[in-house]
Symmetry: C2
Subunit: 303 residues, 2 copies
Amino acid sequence: MVATSEKVNLTGFDLKAYLTQKQQLVEVALNNALPMQYPETVFESMRYSLLAGGKRLRPILCLATAELVGATLDQAMPTACALEMIHTMSLIHDDLPSMDNDDFRRGNPTNHKVYGDAVAILAGDGLLAYSFEYVARETRNVPIDRILEVISRLGRAMGDLVSGQVVDIESEGNPNIPIETLTFIHNHKTSALLEAAVLTGAIVGGANEVDRSKLLRYAKNIGLAFQIVDDILDITATSEELGKSAGKDLTAEKATYPKLWGLDESRRQAQALVHQAKAEVSGFGEKALPLMAIADYITARKN
Amino acid sequence: MVATSEKVNLTGFDLKAYLTQKQQLVEVALNNALPMQYPETVFESMRYSLLAGGKRLRPILCLATAELVGATLDQAMPTACALEMIHTMSLIHDDLPSMDNDDFRRGNPTNHKVYGDAVAILAGDGLLAYSFEYVARETRNVPIDRILEVISRLGRAMGDLVSGQVVDIESEGNPNIPIETLTFIHNHKTSALLEAAVLTGAIVGGANEVDRSKLLRYAKNIGLAFQIVDDILDITATSEELGKSAGKDLTAEKATYPKLWGLDESRRQAQALVHQAKAEVSGFGEKALPLMAIADYITARKN
């Protein structure tokens, strides 16, 4: 998978072990971040979705980038948790009957199927508000101006998620939407938070402008690749593999990259974007191994 | 209305002019804070509710407290706007069919009646995220540690709104809930954001601990008085005066203070709380006139 033109050799880097170790740290941090309290219903609902597993890709991207630019995991962990809270709340609200009306997520009934629409909406609101509070209150040993920039960046990413979801809903039933609209949806619904994950990691670590630009281009490339692969998996993977309904894009008459380009060309485009993403960070040398391996993982993943 | 034991004479303070002037400043600031952009649907929906008028009590409490402790309006305005964004988003979500199912708000159709449930949910999410981003990005000439504390406090208040709404929903259909539960609901659904309004104003202005405590007690007292008056108005005012359905608490079998204490005793309790609130800030002298007049306004209001 590693292009020969790249300076960094990924051989010997055990991505699986890296991801497992980081996932475990994130699980512990998320569990501690949101303890049960009264009223139990809504905290149980928040914890149900927040602690339902998942790849934890956004927190891991944040932690990996923070370490790349010299920060510690402890410095970045509140931001990493906030990213997952925002991601989770967006899934809870997207799954609602009045939105995408999904019954399953990560192999389990969706939040509103278990707790009802009202609590699911409130659990999402609670997670969103708490994500900002948590970063503001729990970040340690990071200059305050960086914390403020993280909060601002997280807010913007959430705004992007909202904009992407609105255009997505408005485009449903129209399989012939222009490529610009499809790109807008994906840039906002998917890439925005992946970019925020990388950028907030860079901000926590105090990366300079040049490094930030490289990392942002890395993030933009993997963000789009991630979405293309999502579209491919919706067609090629089973519901069991995905942990959610497969083939939904087809039945919902959604525009997708495979519909636009075909499956083979979509795979090629995703590969090219991953290649480009890795090239952006190859100049960081060995330190960039996690980010480069994560880029490969995005096209290789099965769910 | 002014108790003779108080040191500050409210005679000559033109509350109406004060509120009108501050409301106008807040309207301009809110309008500028959230310009139209693509995708128009959701920004129109956010602006529809955010700019629908209303008393702007929370922003005004924030501005009045900030000025009381020596800050300028400019320093506090982003926080004041954020409070109204949070208040507005909580109303949008509370009005949804799966929650309180209200068709009218401030005399106009509720957000979801105009834009549909999906956009209303997303508009609320967008306003909530933007409130934090806006404070982080737009606050000027305020030490950064104070801005961070404001964000943390706003997040907590939003968490309280969520908790209050959950217990409120769970208590519906049970008119015999204990007074502790009723108090929990009101402390969280109503008082929390009024307290946050006063406290964030104090934080922006760098109030010391002693002054903060006085202001917090002021806020707690007007918060509870506000809710008691809301319950009274639900019985005594017309839907036209309220701009929303009157008598809803009765039909929804909600526990209220008038049901618990009767109308007369509820009025006495509200008066006593306002009296206590004014006493808490009377030591600030002339500077406290706006907060004292606002306290009186809370029991005198008709909607």
